[in-house]
């Protein structure tokens, strides 16, 4: 008569339990694959109607892969895999070396390490987006400085993107390149070429004639307030005035003109400016288009475990394949 502990051990290591859990995981994944995930509740009401959307939200099918039910099934699968691997490994070690078949063991250990790495990634991964212009510097999360020394954006003759390449230096190091599909791994970070965009900068002249460059969303303090570069207007009409404000500048037809918020002695004005217009204490000189490189700085503590997991899974399936293949072909 087996003890409760032995029976529990047998149940947890059983292939039947593994099959049941695989089917359960398939059902969860199908739900997650069919029902759009992570949308607002209103979305489900519009798509599926009141009663079905209520059921979806109640069962957590709008966020299947972070739902408690899925996590319990995945955890149980991990336990089943761990016990099964331990059991199988102890049996295999007892056999003579030439009769051992460690392919499935290595594969299962690889999956477990992969699960661990995946959980670690999900809990510790951070991503910081840096938008850097050519020649500008940006601070990495650890305080070191990244300088974008060059940026190339190549296109095919039909206008589709061909390549984006950022050339950067970090600290005092030599120049390194970051391309799509070729991240830079440095200082414990992985830096990815995430996107590229054009940005309009405006040039203002202060009363001494010195040039001040403003990026969109930046403000320049003045003696009695500030000048804030809001947007580039593509309208052919002048912008709506905020209550109690007056608009400066010509109303002639034009486009791509910068719009500023100017605060002067607590009075605020929204201004669409034309070259030579007065913007607060400054004169609007003109605008320049600059390429912005969007870099994602990622810190991921799970990275080495995921890599190790993949290596073991690949090795495990390869060994299993080699060990079985000879006797399989009919």
């Amino acid at each position: 008569m087996k003890s409760y502990l032995d029976r529990l051990y047998d149940a947890l290591r059983s292939v039947k339990l593994a099959i049941v859990l695989l089917v359960v995981l398939v059902l969860f994944a199908v739900a997650g694959g069919v029902i759009p995930q992570g949308k607002p509740v209103d979305f489900y009401t519009t798509q599926f109607g009141g009663s079905i959307s209520n059921l979806i939200v109640l069962l957590g099918l709008n966020h299947v892969f972070s739902s408690l039910a899925f996590l319990i099934a995945a955890a149980l699968f991990a336990v089943n895999l761990t016990v099964c691997t331990f059991h199988r490994l102890t049996l295999e070690i007892g056999k003579p070396w030439e009769k051992r078949r460690h392919g499935p063991d290595i594969l299962h250990v690889g999956i477990l390490i992969l699960l661990f790495g995946g959980i670690l990634t999900a809990r510790t991964r951070t991503e910081t987006i840096l938008e850097v212009q050519k020649g500008q510097a940006a601070a990495l999360p650890d305080g070191s400085t990244l300088v974008l020394t060059d940026f190339d954006f190549e296109t095919y003759p039909d206008g589709r993107p061909k390549n984006w390449v950022s050339t950067v230096t970090i600290g005092t190091q030599t120049q390194r390149q970051i391309k799509v599909n070729s991240p830079l791994r440095e200082h414990g970070y992985s830096i990815y070429q995430k996107y590229w965009k054009n940005e309009t900068n405006v040039i203002l002249l202060d009363p001494t004639g010195m040039e001040i460059t403003l990026r969109q969303g930046m403000r320049q303090p003045t003696m009695d307030g500030f000048v804030f570069f809001m947007a580039v207007s593509t309208d052919y009409s002048s912008p709506a005035q905020s209550p109690g404000s007056t608009s400066i500048g010509s109303n002639s037809l034009s486009e791509n003109n910068p719009v500023f918020l100017v605060e002067d002695h607590n009075k605020r004005l929204v201004i669409k400016a034309y070259e030579g217009d007065k913007v607060g204490p400054f004169i609007y000189k003109g605008r320049v288009e600059n390429s912005i490189s969007g870099l994602a700085v990622v810190s991921d503590k799970g990275y080495p475990y995921v890599v190790a997991g993949f290596v073991l899974v690949a090795l495990g399936v390869f060994l299993t394949y080699v060990q079985k293949l000879k006797g399989l072909v009919p």
């Binding site: 292939v15 995981l25 398939v26 990634t121 991503e127 599909n181």
Partner: protein
Amino acid sequence: MIATSAFVLLVVSLIVQIVHFFRTKKAPDTVSPWLSLVAGALLLIEIIRRSVAIQFIALTGLFESLVFLACLLSLLTFAMHFFRWSAENRILPFGATIIAIIFLALASSPIAPSEVKPPVPALQSGWLILHVSFTFVGEAFFAVGFVSAILQLLTKDKDKSKSYDRTTYTSIAVGYPIFTAGALIFGAIWAEKAWGLWWSWDPKETWALITWLTYTAYLHLRLVRKNTSKLVPALVIIGFFVAMFTFLGVNFLMTGLHSYA
């Protein structure tokens, strides 16, 4: 033009196979395997021609994927004859030929534009080529397993059922590790290199996982039930439908990171 010629050859190969089914004299069919081989070679030439044109391995669009899959199945059909895998039954290469013809028919339809376009930056990766090619090689074996599993379910002859079961298991056992490496491992490595994320629960990824879990369930169920349950080959049939939905259905019914595939 090259793909069309391959399509015609495969149709002729299919007709030759049908003629052999109805021949009273059981002479071996020595013509259709060679037609399949030439069709496969032509499709390979088409892939090489497109690769030269875009200066990258032409496996980055739906048309190219369908042509590549049809090419693999044509070559596999010839391999069945050459290595005598299908000596006992002729339906296996017949089924594989039909699937290859379906893929080529889809490739010539409006759903798969055949315009030669060089890849955008995200697609310029060696990992992508490994991801796509390994996945399709795995799926070509799944296609053979699918035909064999149908035959296994339909036959009432125990010996034949056992033989089909062995062919099904062989196909899946060979295809599974290749699919695992391609769809999951190389796919995740490419995703990490391109987007900084191993896994995004993107619809294509989720359905690839469902495919993998289904075949994993098959391999474990077969370990327990051997050839005694109809559920065992049924899982292979379900698995292939899921694989095809992952390949084609997700592209047209869902949006995600793989919307260009």
